[in-house]
Symmetry: C2
Subunit: 200 residues, 2 copies
């Protein structure tokens, strides 16, 4: 896909950047300063989409011309939302909650065009099933440090993360942190809408 405008990712997740590069996009990173607070009165999908949009707006304020990409991932198990763990013992507790069960990974994303301020948002939800994980594997994984910057305390692309997951129902890349397929078609449509407006 040819993207004619500058693309800015409003997220400091190295996984999201790697995914966007994987599909051939040239992306700059400018992390947002938006706090990842959940609104308990709305669904996880709406929370993820609103936070993604807020991140794109926050970064877009200082950008004259570009498309800003915002994203937010929320892990939900039995109606409990799991953010990034605050401490290693928090990570152990989360992984014990996920062991032997199915949870849902929701990612919201937003594309914000500057200077027009036109935008589009989307969400993707994927059901993920963990096998029963022995406590020793959880301890060893948390001791390695990788769970600490990840919602739900695991990365499916990690050593242990990869073998915790027995089944996925939905978009895989959404579980890594960004729903590539839906994002790609959304970006294609968004670009052609912007071009129409400009009379190209």
């Amino acid at each position: 896909m040819n993207v004619t405008k500058r693309l800015i990712l409003a997220s400091q997740s190295p996984r999201r950047l790697a995914l966007l590069r994987q599909i051939g996009l040239q992306v700059e990173v400018i992390p947002s300063c938006v706090r990842e607070d959940f609104d308990p009165t709305v669904s996880p999908e709406v929370n993820a989409k609103s936070l993604a949009h807020a991140k794109a707006i926050d970064v877009g304020r200082n950008i004259e011309e570009a498309i800003i990409i915002g994203a937010d991932t929320i892990v939900e198990v039995d109606s409990i939302l799991l953010p990034k763990p605050a401490t290693p013992s928090d990570a152990v507790r989360m992984l014990e909650m996920l062991s032997g069960r199915t949870h849902t990974v929701h990612t919201g994303f937003a594309l914000l065009d500057r200077p027009s301020n036109k935008y589009v948002t989307g969400t993707e939800s994927t059901r993920v099933t963990f096998r029963s994980i022995p406590p020793a594997e959880i301890e060893e994984y948390v001791a390695g440090g990788s769970p600490m910057d990840k919602a739900g305390a695991y990365g499916i692309q990690d050593d242990y993360g990869a073998v915790f997951v027995s089944h996925i129902d939905g978009c895989f890349y959404n579980v890594v942190g960004f729903p590539l397929s839906k994002f790609y078609t959304t970006l294609q449509q968004f670009q052609s809408q912007l071009m129409k407006v400009q009379g190209c």
Copy 2:
């Protein structure tokens, strides 16, 4: 997981090697010379498992002491089995078949212990849905060359491959070429059985 024996991968797929390394296994590669012929009288799962076992046996013949890992992946769409494409136009034809539909990726694997010749086999099947792919994207993907060494003519970890897939039902890593989660637990159990036999 501590693996005390030498591990040999009887496959020249760089993706399988990368996946095994991702979960921390030290693996040597010795490709087998087994031809990937299908037996039309049995199911794709049985074909994949038999070929995986045959590859492990072929490599194991010349190995005194090790666990040999064999694997084979078969892509099935509407009861048609898709091998690796023979030519670029073959790859285009396969991708046109997969566009806008759901297919199944079957991977068979085998673990063969030398010198005891004890073995275990397993299979994993994942349902994969492609969005409708415009012909220009198929042409561009095939022109890049990546589809040529892959059953079904795509790699879900490729640039275009990643955005062709809209939905997965099953194990993701199986679609890349190796069902990491099932393999990991199978290897754990196989090792402990071998140790019991040896009286450890």
